[in-house]
């Protein structure tokens, strides 16, 4: 193939690297009002009084808005397809504040300095309540985070707000208890995964203005323009037809920008004042007043027979969703959705709750529950293998789901593709399993050990994600590809163009890609849930095929032969006999400008009832310092089955980046609060993300499969790559020093204390 499977540079790459002004704040008008937010210093309180009079008198202050000035429709910031599974539990501003950082007042001024000065002049009196800070004590706590009557959900998600339960989940196949009773070996452990910050380099930002029709335009650094439009319509109580959301270039997302940021605040200012406004969250706000990965407690019970055949797998999950229920029920569900199908146990069950606490909300984060679930399940599998005296790779090879097997999620659809077994075998070879497993002493105080984990994710959300693509043949013979998928650095504008170019047998340069603008783009939920390559990709392929047929038919008509007697060959339609031909340019010109009177437009709306899983086998080599307990990653091998690799260099970097985030989660990233619920890790000084020196070597390989339902055989890659590092590194640390760290991150303190504990025994 000419384009698919080629490492083509990102079509916007040159502009990005050479510093062209293409991001939200580069585009915002210079005269935009600067919007700042006064935030709550308390984790849980009621505003008794708020006095903005002094602040309003300050020169340069345009408006100050409080809970008295906002529409009273509760909404969710979660960017999800309608009907959103997240509860409508927040107002733009409210007289109750539910975490340190919750918004109290909106300040709009001519510049940042004036806005900040005004903020200091606002006087607020609070009645402070006892906050719910420990998520394990949230259920039945005397404080109820959301007592309000008008909180609502679109459908039943198991909400019991008087108990602080946002969502409840249960899924079961087979007789778990019956199977467990007959197992020879059982592992029963409790695992904790921490809140993790997305830390994308571009913080949240939105620029809003009214256009010539008086419509609200929001240029937003978002992964979900159509969801933001719906969110703004509900929160501001204006029709969606009066709103346009435009996504420019985005400085990273990782799921963060699947949740709304400052859009509602800037939009409200623009509606109230009629003036352009921009809001830019600083790094501290981004760390402490947006969302993080949901922290979880996951109890795993897993049973097998003596030969290592897994019979039963049970998960009990408690998820901390913080002060608002963004993505609460769905992240909870995905803990099981992407772990239970992986092993062919007869009986599998997940039960769980997501609970409200008075901390920053949880949200969507690359992996979306699967990352948390994978740490727990894979750690348990590694322990099971040890109990059985079997090689952990062999246990997996024995039990993993294979192509043709039935996935529990889709009883009527056999698994279309998987090379996970080859991924495991190749990974073992590349990491040097035979020689290095489990552990070697490399220096008097240093040991090196190996660990492993496998994982799956999905490719879009089955029966929900629906993407539309349009491609038209323009008057001068080039194409415009219209999509609503949101390139946030992932390269989807490029890979979707590759697919279209492949089908249309044209060049990358001949295709103008436009995304995303809710006034122009066909609907797409946005780029999340690993959906873009697979779902939007299929829409693009089908739209391109549709256009190709139309070009052929139109060309044949001009050649006065039937379509069956003609073929499209790159830039010409010619008769099969080869006696006549017409160029694409002529077809375009005749159709659009001339006597044809029909501009050709290919179109497709695509969604699927299945979500084919990509797979990764991850192998870690870790060096542990016996004197300090510090674990350092030496080598990481990830072998990936994402179906057909559409663009190898982009897929490789995507994998390396996901692994790096996983390494951070495994070893040091940790969102922490003090006893009053104030976030302690609200800058890069306190919250460490991996720097260039921390990563060791990460090696990525692909074991391609061919997914029959995917575009050119492709599946997803965006999220699955984040899941293996934590369990693989934890496994390696155990093999190094015998300490099982079951609560992430695996800090030197935990390892060292564990070693001390072992020494005492």
């Amino acid at each position: 193939m000419k384009f698919v499977g080629q490492s083509i540079s990102k079509i916007d790459g040159m502009a990005l690297v050479t510093g062209k002004p293409v991001y939200t704040d580069d585009i915002a008008l210079k005269n935009a009002l600067v919007v700042k937010l006064l935030r709550s210093p308390y984790a849980f309180a009621k505003i008794k009084s708020i006095d903005t009079s002094k602040a309003e008198q300050l020169d340069g202050v345009e408006c100050i808005l409080t809970y008295k000035d906002v529409p009273q429709a509760r909404f969710t910031l979660a960017g999800q397809s309608y009907p959103e599974p997240s509860p409508y539990d927040r107002l733009i501003l409210e007289d109750i504040v539910r975490y340190v950082g919750d918004e109290v007042a909106i300040i709009a001024a001519v510049d940042e300095k004036t806005a900040l000065k005004a903020m200091k002049l606002i006087k607020v009196e609070y009645e402070v309540f006892e906050p719910v800070l420990d998520f394990e004590k949230a259920i039945g706590h005397t404080s109820v985070v959301h007592p309000e009557e008008n909180l609502s959900t679109n459908f039943e998600i198991g909400l019991q707000k008087e108990k602080n339960i946002v969502a409840s989940h249960r899924f079961e196949v087979g007789d778990v208890d019956g199977e467990l009773a007959q197992c020879d070996v059982i592992v029963e452990e409790t695992y904790y995964t921490q809140a993790q910050a997305h830390a994308m380099m571009e913080t949240y930002r939105t620029f809003t203005y009214l256009d010539h029709m008086g419509r609200l335009v929001a240029i937003s650094s978002t992964q979900v323009p159509f969801h933001i439009r719906r969110q703004l319509a509900r929160a501001l109580q204006i029709p969606a037809s009066k709103i346009r959301v435009i996504k420019p270039r985005i400085g990273g997302g990782f799921g963060a920008k699947q949740t709304g940021g400052g859009d509602v605040f800037a939009a409200l200012v623009t509606l109230k004042t009629g003036k352009p406004a921009k809001i830019i969250y600083d790094r501290q706000e981004t760390f402490s007043c947006t969302t993080s990965r949901h922290a979880m407690r996951i109890k795993v019970k897993m049973g097998a027979d003596k030969e290592g055949l897994i019979k039963a797998l049970e998960l009990q999950v408690l998820s901390d969703t913080g002060a608002y229920g963004e993505h609460a029920s769905t992240v909870l569900g995905c803990v099981g959705e992407y772990t239970l199908p992986l092993y062919k146990a007869k009986a599998r069950r997940i039960t769980g709750h997501a609970v409200y606490t008075n901390k920053m909300p949880g949200g969507a984060f690359r992996g979306y529950g699967a990352t948390q679930g994978t740490f727990a399940v894979e750690s348990a599998v590694n322990k099971l293998a040890e109990k059985l005296g079997l090689d952990p790779a062999a246990v997996r090879l024995r039990n993993i789901v294979k192509a043709g097997d039935t996935l529990i999620n889709y009883p009527n659809h056999p698994l279309g593709s998987s090379t996970l077994d080859q991924c495991i075998l190749k990974g073992q070879e590349l990491i040097g399993w035979k020689d290095k497993y489990p552990v070697r002493q490399v220096a008097p105080n240093k040991v090196r050990a190996l660990g492993m984990a496998v994982t799956m994710q999905g490719s879009g959300i089955a029966n929900i994600d629906t993407s539309t693509a349009e491609i038209r043949l323009n008057d001068d013979g080039n194409f415009t590809l219209l999509i609503g998928a949101t390139d946030m650095g992932t390269g989807c504008d490029t890979i979707l163009t590759q697919m279209a170019a492949e089908v249309l047998e044209t060049s990358m340069e001949q295709i103008i890609v436009n995304a995303a603008d809710t006034d122009i783009s066909p609907y797409d939920p946005g780029s999340y849930a690993s959906s873009t390559t697979y779902v939007a990709g299929m829409a693009v392929v089908k739209a391109a095929e549709d256009l190709k047929q139309q070009i052929l038919a139109q060309g044949a008509r001009y050649l006065e032969v039937s379509a069956q007697d003609a073929e499209l060959d790159g830039n010409v339609v010619k008769t099969l006999k080869g006696d006549k031909e017409i160029s694409l340019y002529q077809i375009a010109e005749l159709s659009v400008l001339g006597t044809g009177r029909q501009q050709l437009v290919g179109h497709s709306t695509y969604g699927n009832e299945i979500s084919p899983p990509p797979f990764v086998a991850g192998f870690a080599e870790v060096e542990v310092d016996l004197e300090t307990g510090k674990a350092e990653l030496v080598d990481y091998v990830a072998v990936v089955d994402c179906g057909t690799v559409i663009n190898p260099s982009l897929a490789r970097v995507q994998t390396e980046g996901g692994i790096a985030q996983g390494i951070g989660m495994a070893l040091y990233e940790d969102v922490r609060y003090d006893q009053k619920g104030r976030m302690q890790t609200n800058s890069f000084m306190q919250y460490k993300i991996p720097c260039r020196k921390d990563i060791g070597t990460v090696r990525v390989f692909f074991e391609s499969s061919f997914e029959p339902t995917g575009p050119f055989g492709a599946k997803s890659i965006g999220e699955v790559v984040a899941n293996t590092p934590a369990p693989a590194i934890a496994h390696a640390v155990y093999n190094a020093v015998g300490v099982r760290v079951q609560s992430l991150p695996i800090t030197p303190e935990k390892v060292f204390m564990g070693m001390q504990e072992l020494a005492r025994l």
């Binding site: 690297v17 260099s649 890069f684 260039r692």
Partner: protein, 150 residues
């Protein structure tokens, strides 16, 4: 306060506040490649050259830059494009938000270090954070870029 700057070879005299930082001054002057991402002087996105040395412009008071020679990536388009060719071929720019600052450090390293080892490269560039790529692709690109130059 009025200060004199040379920005990308052009002399300008501009009025800045006493507590204004250079990154904000430069953005206000239209040099929008200069990004801010941390507020704590640790991400490297605002990297420019002051008198040829890579510097965090978010942490330099504009008045301290009076009389200095500043270079942003807008003034090094040819060199930046050469590096961008290699970086984008690896796919290692991803979201690109950190790329201009990163590129400014790479270009400074190129003139400062002769035949650097992998460790020296990593050490020199370590102040430039990136959350997308995991750094491996950037290292591949930098090495290729140095090879091409050699």
């Amino acid at each position: 306060m009025l200060i004199n700057l040379s920005i990308n070879g052009k002399d300008v005299r501009i009025d800045v506040a006493k507590d204004e930082f250079l990154a904000d001054t430069l953005r206000a002057q239209g040099f929008l490649s200069v990004k801010k991402a941390c507020d704590t002087s640790c991400c490297g996105l605002c990297t420019i050259w002051i008198d040829g040395k890579p510097t965090l412009s978010c942490s330099v008071l504009s008045i301290r830059a009076d009389g200095k020679k500043l270079t942003t990536i807008e003034g090094l388009q040819q060199e930046a494009a050469e590096f961008a060719e290699v970086l984008t071929a690896e796919g290692a720019e991803q979201c690109g938000f950190c790329s201009p600052g990163f590129t400014m450090t790479v270009l400074a390293m190129k003139s400062e270090l002769k035949n650097p080892s992998d460790d020296e490269i990593v050490h020199y560039l370590t102040g430039n954070l990136c959350r997308c790529t995991g750094y491996m692709g950037q290292l591949r690109a930098v090495k290729k870029y140095l090879e091409v130059l050699a």
